[in-house]
Symmetry: C2
Subunit: 189 residues, 2 copies
DNA sequence: AGAAAAATAAACCGATCGGTTTCCCGGTCG
DNA sequence: CGACCGGGAAACCGATCGGTTTATTTTTCT
């Protein structure tokens, strides 16, 4: 029993940053982050250049969990249509949790406004990857216009998670028929 | 020519608040708002109880312009389908402007996170009104499930403006076919 | 045990936050 | 003229911001 019974300061900081910025916004203070992580500011600034970099790194680290949670396994036997629907089933599932606040990557970009901010860049990349997944599946599924379908699905993804995040809609019975309609129209059976 | 050659301090404050919070976020300082409005903090705090109330009031005031810009005239001769499409044409138009940053009401709610914040409540109401418009038109247009269609359209509205606002998509050729697909499926010709 | 390295807590920095108060100037009255 | 008064400029308040530094403790290594 030698391997990592406890998380490293770095991991704890990334975790705290991800959790607290998601709940309270990027305006959360460094002091609060360090306190939550049980790490001194001094150590934090040896591990990260700045708050901006910590924020960007925490989004980066969460990216793998993001895709792991949403995307289906790379080679499961299911059809492109089923694989796409799987993503939205996961969104609806997450939206049920009371602490759900929408897609963190969208929220960070909206809060920061500055597209050149390191964290905004990470967020932009992660969202680009999701769109790329949709496009690949759309192509594989024989969509009439894979690029269009991918953009439509990304739009629905962001719209759904945003509206659920602000409590404007609980998504029940909304996502599945909407996505199905788009898939049908695109010719993805 | 006696009526309002210049805006009142109150109007200037509301305008400055709307402009600056839209560009820089709700974290913008009171000092900057007052400076931009050409009003002293002293006067500002005589006109508004707090920053929160100023923010809420500025959103409230912008609400009429919001609906005036997006919604068609109440009694133009067009069909429900055309009236719904009109809204999204306006969104696509606005998204072309370089300073466009997505729907301000959605942004405010995401930034504040607190749903009980006065400004969040105003935002929630305004968005509810838009959904109500969609629902009314959906009913009038004979949609098979007006409530579902209204939620779908709201979802597309928020998704589209959010993604355009963060520079993830320029919406060109995206909204019209998407909305048309939803309208078709709902049976709104 | 004792030197060396690392990590902590906390003081500190200048700047800014939302909000209050003081001061002072320019009008408008009697 | 002189008393008044609204409002602007700016000082001021305690709190917090991101970030640095000091001093002390804890850990590690020999």
């Amino acid at each position: 029993m030698s391997t990592e019974v406890k998380a490293s300061p770095r991991e704890r900081l990334l975790e705290a940053a991800a959790t607290l910025t998601y709940r309270d916004g990027v305006g959360i203070g460094i002091e609060a982050l360090c306190k939550a992580a049980g790490v001194s500011k001094r150590s934090m600034y040896q591990l990260f250049e700045s708050k901006d970099e910590l924020l960007a790194a925490s989004l980066e680290e969460r990216a793998s969990a993001f895709v792991a949670t949403l995307l289906p396994a790379a080679d499961d036997g299911r059809s492109p249509r089923e694989r796409i629907l799987h993503v939205f089933e996961q969104v609806e599932l997450q939206a049920g949790a009371p602490e759900f606040r929408g897609c963190r990557y969208l929220a960070v970009q909206i809060e920061l406004k500055d597209q050149s901010h390191p964290a905004s860049r990470v967020a932009h990349r992660v969202k680009g990857n999701l769109t790329a997944f949709f496009r690949a599946e759309a192509e594989h599924g024989g969509a009439s216009d894979p690029e269009l379908l991918a953009r439509q699905l990304s739009l629905v993804f962001d719209g759904a998670s945003a509206r659920a995040g602000i409590g404007a809609d609980n998504l029940t019975g909304l996502i599945a028929p909407t996505v199905a309609t788009l898939l049908d129209t695109a010719g993805v059976r």
